[in-house]
């Protein structure tokens, strides 16, 4: 897998840049010299067969893993070595492939988690319930409710998260991510487990998020969603990048077709 085909220098227009990023776990190289850039305001899809290293790339961007080689830059700042919450505070928010909500907490409390780092108030302010704390909490609740209404969960603020339908849980995760007021939103299989109508609604939601000026990077297996929502695709296979370009270019790329359908002699 050559890494030379995608050597991108951090450019000013790019919000997020990965350069020659490699991550191995013991003997297994999960991500191998991957480079790509996400321009401000774009919707970029990261696709590839199962086990291609897509989620690992996400975990590298948000600091859950540290790359062995290569650099990740966001708005000109190097992300390597930063802890996850620091990266979130810089303006990247994410959702998880296997939904990670605070199951026992209410929808509102889940969304409030996203507001957390922009709020103030520690132990003393909380115990004494000072007027400043009250104001901060009120503003945060308003902000959280706004995001819940945006994703269509405005009527269910006091429902316990685990009692939501699968599609609603995915939407709540997006609301929690949006509540951090990100510049870049990373969605890991947002349509996973959704039915057709829910997927359709999700495409609409992605459009709306983009209209707010938020850049989106997503992993998705649902090709209809990918082809409709994304303007640029990055294709991974066995940890390496095999193609990059518009959906039309990628769709007709022989290497992509081979990765997805296999070669004749494999069959």
């Amino acid at each position: 897998m050559s890494a030379a085909d995608g050597a991108i220098a951090p450019t000013e227009s790019a919000l997020l840049t990965l350069r020659e990023v490699t991550k191995s776990f013991g003997g297994l190289t999960a991500v191998n010299g991957v480079s790509f850039a996400v321009g401000e305001g774009a919707v970029v899809g990261l696709i590839g067969p199962n086990g291609a290293g897509k989620t690992t790339v996400f975990n590298l961007i948000t600091g859950n893993y540290q790359p062995n080689h290569g650099d990740i830059h966001f708005t000109g700042q190097r992300l390597n070595g930063l802890r996850t919450h620091r990266i979130i505070m810089l303006g990247i928010a994410r959702t998880f492939q296997n939904i990670r909500l605070f199951q026992q907490l209410t929808v509102l409390e889940n969304a409030l988690a996203g507001c957390h780092y922009r709020m103030s108030g520690g132990i003393l302010a909380g115990m004494l319930w000072l007027p400043t704390q009250r104001r901060v909490e009120k503003a945060a609740v308003e902000r959280a409710v706004q995001e819940l209404e945006f994703v269509g969960l405005g009527q269910q603020t006091l429902t316990v998260a685990k009692n939501l339908s699968y599609g609603d849980q995915r939407r709540l995760e997006i609301a929690r991510a949006l509540a951090t007021q990100p510049r870049l939103l990373i969605l890991d299989e947002p349509a996973g487990g959704m039915n057709e109508q829910e997927t359709e609604a999700l495409i609409g939601l992605i459009e709306q998020i983009r209209a707010r000026g938020i850049t989106i990077l997503l992993i998705e297996h649902d090709m209809r969603l990918v082809m409709r929502a994304c303007e640029k695709l990055v294709v991974l296979e066995h940890g390496g990048k095999i193609a990059e370009g518009s959906p039309e270019q990628v769709r007709s790329d022989p290497r992509v077709i081979e990765a997805y359908l296999g070669t004749e002699d494999e069959v």
């Binding site: 948000t62 802890r83 979130i88 199951q103 026992q104 957390h116 909380g126 115990m127 945060a140």
Partner: protein, 320 residues
């Protein structure tokens, strides 16, 4: 239950408790005092174990730090015992931060074992008269009675109002803390630390902060204990104390303040009621715990919306 009913119930309970010393003998009031101290300790542990889901079975170590700080300051430097309250809290809290810092990233069962170790180290250090100031196995005696506005607190009834006043203040403060930004952060931590970190929350900071806070509360409870007993020794801070506190939180319903109070009454009060069956006490105790964990794992009085946490957390802790 409706919130208003909750408050009526809490008010009735407080009123009943407030007049209880008028009808009880000194021994019975003393039992209530013990319950109050355990409630105070368990409320602090509840922040760590119930709200944040961090397994701490060494809470007695922080209790001991507070009690010994108060006792040493009082007997050596003649500082009035109640004045040592904030300092005992600070010492216990600082100690907790120091020991928790390298281990707080550990998960469930690993953290549990480390905290057991910390508890034992503290107890053994006290027995061995560390720095020559803890009095070894005999402990420290001759701690002064506390004095409030010139009134010397001496009788069990006096201590009753001091201790339960502290419990009431603690509940007042912790109820507010629970619904604040800080309290929510603890719940995020318990539910899913990865998701919390992924929402921009500095999970390491909150783990340390809650350890410090819970320990500081134990330290202050230690001061009250030293003042009440006038003599303290390492055997009051054994591993068993940590286990009992852990049990109170899990039995009552992790994260539930009324649950913790109820369990403190049951775990500390019931053995006193059944003194004549002292021989079978541990047997009954063990059986009750087993039945509880099978039949009602969420605790006697679980926190709203947190059903099943204790079982889930225990399963996580013992699982792979």
């Amino acid at each position: 239950m409706k919130p208003r009913l909750d408050w009526i119930g809490a008010g009735l309970f407080a009123a009943l408790l407030a007049v209880a010393p008028l009808f009880l003998n000194a021994y019975q009031v003393d039992v209530l005092n013990s319950i109050g101290l355990y409630a105070l300790l368990a409320l602090g542990l509840n922040l760590i174990l119930g709200e944040a889901g961090l397994f701490n079975m060494g809470h007695a170590a922080f209790y001991a730090m507070g009690a010994y700080t108060a006792a040493i300051l009082n007997t050596r430097y003649q500082i009035p015992i109640l004045w040592t309250l904030p300092l005992s809290g600070l010492v216990a809290g600082a100690f907790a931060l120091a020991v928790a810092r390298p281990v707080v990233h550990l998960r469930g069962d690993y953290l549990l074992i480390v905290t057991i170790g910390v508890g034992e180290i503290v107890r053994i250090a006290l027995v061995n008269d560390v720095f020559g100031i803890t009095g070894g196995a005999n402990g420290i005696f001759g701690i002064n009675r506390p004095r409030v506005f010139g009134y010397i607190i001496r009788r069990p009834e006096d201590f009753f109002y001091l201790i339960w006043g502290c419990v009431a203040l603690t509940i007042f403060l912790f109820l507010r803390l629970k619904r604040s930004r800080f309290g929510r952060a603890l719940n995020y931590l318990r539910e899913d630390a990865t998701a919390a970190e992924g929402s921009g929350i500095n999970t390491d900071y909150y783990k340390l902060a809650v350890f410090g806070l819970g320990a500081a509360w134990a330290g202050m409870a230690g001061t009250l204990f030293a003042a009440k007993m006038t003599i303290i020794s390492p055997e009051s801070f054994s591993f068993w104390e940590s286990v009992v506190l852990f049990m109170i939180v899990i039995l009552g319903g992790a994260g539930s303040i009324p649950g913790v109070l109820l369990a403190a009454f049951l775990v500390v009060g019931l053995p006193e009621l059944f003194r004549e069956f002292a021989g079978a006490r541990m047997l009954v105790f063990g059986l009750v715990m087993m039945v509880m964990m099978v039949v009602r794992p969420q605790g006697l009085w679980p926190a709203r919306g947190h059903q099943g946490f204790s079982l889930a957390a225990l399963a996580r802790a013992v699982g792979p």
